[in-house]
Symmetry: C2
Subunit: 252 residues, 2 copies
């Protein structure tokens, strides 16, 4: 059955942050992410719109169908998808209830200081998930977690890593004893530093780097040492974050 | 002056690998990459097509203009560009003469085992450049270096890192003593291993991993250890390569 104009209009509204905030819902897309969401207790999947082939393939997994599933044709899927080549299934999901206030004195956190590139932000969540870094703090100006490209790049990591929208000042005021490190070109080689049990690592904006407001709270600038003969001016924000997290988690 | 139909047709042909091979030329785009190319001795920039603002800004840099510069309007730039939002300048460049056969016994090489994603391949060249890894070997099935998105993602690193199209079998036959490592989920934690002075590190295809042909030549499978509590199934190929290169270059 074809989707109604109102349904299409509602789903397309959720492509925009403004309406995701207004309705407190978001869109999840693709076999992997929707599949994982349907297995989670803390996400309420309101509606699933999927090609017949996806529904058939998943019929054996009974728990998938506690959410209403609508079979749609390829044309309608394309209308409601945020991607030019949709991946079989689109779901409308309630944003989860906020988790309890985290304990920043327990383990490391990443602080995204106005990161703009959705691919970078999603990749960083995936890195945090891999290295069991329990939370990522999105500072002012950081792209919305529920942006389609962010969710896609997380490969499902947003289901496990705690995403918190908060300024560094707020974190620091509540946890003044937790060290704040920033990734900076001139910083100290992170592989040469002793790693505290807890800390906040700031990843600066792709173009502007670490903001003045955040810099004022930094205890230690860290960097990835480049050997003699290095030519590149910098590393991509996702790659740099991966290496810094590996250094934080290394077994010495 | 507007560009002729033949000029537009020729430049657009170079958007395709087939014609880049036929004419032995490629397209470089954007202020950063074209700017760097014009300062290099080993690249012959045949023609530059740029907005008036780019030409005015660069008039003071005399050496830029040993290549013919054509002022184009935004419409023509858009016609010849490979991007939907072109960045001021497009250049037609001769592919460089092949460098002398490299000495694989000298330092590390990365081997791309059929990598398909242009962003990953460009990012990996940028990582090699940062860590002064002198060469990247593109195995069969790997995306073309001169693909627009690969060049863009390198941020200019392709000017410094030697790109070699060659199979792993050919490398191994010539340098049987050089150890071959592969990045594999079940491999040994690379931070726990002594690092030889030279080696080849295989990065597998995004979906299929390391090919059977390459696996047959592997001496050591290596991995990035995930701590207790890790949730992600994998890391992005670029991020994983960055961490593995950091491990290879670490000062212990």
């Amino acid at each position: 059955m074809a989707l109604s104009k109102n349904t299409i209009k509602f789903i397309k509204a959720l492509h925009l942050k403004k309406f995701r905030q207004k309705y407190n819902k978001f869109i999840a897309e693709g076999e992997k992410i929707v599949g994982e969401l349907l297995l989670q207790d803390d996400y309420a999947v309101q509606e699933v719109y999927a090609l017949a082939e996806w529904v058939e393939k998943n019929t054996s997994r009974g728990n998938f169908f506690s959410s209403p599933v609508h079979v749609v044709n390829e044309q309608d899927l394309k209308l409601i998808s945020q991607f030019s080549t949709p991946n079989k299934v689109v779901a409308v999901v309630d944003k989860p209830a906020p988790r309890p206030q985290p304990d920043f004195g327990n383990d490391w956190s990443l602080y995204l200081d106005g990161l703009q590139d959705p691919g970078n932000v999603g990749t960083i969540l995936r890195i945090a998930d891999w290295f069991a870094i329990p939370r990522v703090v999105a500072g002012p100006g950081t792209v919305d977690l529920y942006n389609a490209k962010v969710l896609q790049a997380t490969m499902g990591a947003f289901l496990r890593v705690n995403w918190i929208e908060m300024s560094l000042e707020t974190v620091h005021t509540a946890y003044p004893q937790v060290p704040v490190w920033s990734a900076e070109m001139g910083g100290k080689d992170i592989f040469s530093l002793p790693i505290p049990a807890a800390g906040v690592l700031i990843i600066g904006n792709e173009g502007q780097g670490v903001s003045a407001a955040a810099q004022a709270l930094v205890n230690q600038q860290v960097a990835i040492a480049a050997p003699v003969g290095s030519g590149a001016e910098s590393l991509n924000a996702g790659v740099a974050t991966g290496i810094l997290c590996a250094a934080i988690r290394r077994q010495v």
